[in-house]
Symmetry: C2
Subunit: 253 residues, 2 copies
């Protein structure tokens, strides 16, 4: 049996996958992919059978078991199997469960890393996550607990929240409860790295206002030092939507 190759596709646009990831895809016979990954990635493996495991039926814990079973079944068939995940598999990618299922079945694995959403958002907005002197730590975290509760902390100079797009108002409240001052800068980026990326600047105390702009889109929320624009911002040559990039939303009267 060939080892299953886990590949981080990066945050969106197909050209943010690594060369190694593209090479492994080119020799795949079966690709199990999530809904989040760019359809253009298919051009890197036109010879393969592409199976979408990101659809609704695979979203809950039963779905994870079904994905595990599919991985094992296709690997046992002797085919070259790729498991393609958005972002990086080691960061909120549920890699652990799939590696364990393969190990239990005696199937090997290789993991090809990718660009995770926090880093893609920082690049696309030109807001470095670390800053000299003031920003020595970055936390990547999810505000959602397994039970569906929302939690927030203040532990690093910069915190990036994954999977918080649906609860921006609640996140703002939790951040204040966690001792972030109300005027702390917050950068909200949805579909980071895609051509239709949107970004907007807020404060912890008024984060609720971001909800409408980013509704229904994969969103990362950067809080603290790394959210602030650079003091002398360079001229933008980015692909973000004109007029919306660097927009400062105001509350409706």
């Amino acid at each position: 049996m060939k080892p299953v190759v886990f590949i981080g596709a990066g945050p969106g646009a197909a050209d943010l996958i690594t060369l190694r990831g593209a090479q492994r895809l080119a020799s795949a016979e079966v690709v199990l992919f999530d809904a989040l990954t760019d359809p253009a990635l298919r051009e890197l493996a036109p010879q393969a059978r592409w199976i979408d495991v990101g659809k609704r039926g695979f979203c809950n814990s039963t779905g994870q078991l079904a994905i595990n079973a599919l991985l094992v079944r296709h690997a046992r068939s002797g085919r070259a199997v790729v498991r393609l995940k958005g972002g990086d598999p080691s960061v909120f990618g549920r890699l652990e469960e799939e590696l364990q299922a393969l190990a239990a079945a005696g199937v090997g694995a290789e993991v090809v890393p990718g660009v995770t959403a926090a880093i893609a958002a920082a690049a696309a907005t030109q807001r470095p996550l670390t800053r000299r002197g003031t920003g020595r730590s970055v936390s990547l975290t999810t505000a959602m607990t397994q039970s569906g509760d929302l939690q927030a902390t203040r532990t690093a100079d910069t915190e990036v929240f994954y999977m918080a797009g649906r609860q921006l108002a609640a996140l703002g409240r939790r951040l204040q409860q966690a001792a972030w001052p109300a005027d702390t800068p917050v950068l909200v980026v949805s579909r980071a790295g895609w051509p239709d990326q949107l970004q907007s600047d807020h404060r912890v105390g008024s984060l609720a206002e971001a909800a409408l702009l980013h509704a229904g889109r994969p969103t990362v929320v950067t809080v603290g030092v790394g959210a602030a624009p650079l003091e002398q911002a360079p001229k933008r040559e980015s692909a973000t939507a004109p007029g919306l990039a660097r927009r400062e939303p105001r509350m409706q009267p």
Copy 2:
């Protein structure tokens, strides 16, 4: 003037750069690169003039000013300039200072993200940084302050320390002072993602023993939930050195 393109080369091996990064390199006329990046990356831009700014003279703060000046000078000459950095530019890449220098000179910029060392180490060792239920946050941090002091914290379920390779014994002591139990798992990976990558498993209380194995090599130190091996480890098909991979070092008698 063309915008300067900052590219994250990834952690080491040339094929861990993104497709977009490789494409931008292919049209570069001047490449300013750090010592850490893989010499094989030159094959992606044989037409360009390659300037090594990672040498000793560029390491201190005077060196950063010299790099800034070089970036501006080459951009002003009208050439297509790439600034190639190891890992990702937004994470401990001093991107902020170089963007500010370009902005002050009226030069635009584009940032192409890359795979940062913490993520490369997680992939190469098959130790996911997030774990279901127990590992909801990951902190990327540097133990070194600007003044050269060593600091450590306990703020996330998993913490990854950059640039701590030279002071592993001191880091272990600081981690215990920061309330990490002495038996907390620690994974030390040097030259993550390179063919000669080394990895070793330790505990916070005995981290000093890792110093000899990784001496003189770029090292990341993962502490906490994400450092632990998976309960059922898959068969290894990795490129790490046989016999050293997953080695449990012991103290000399």
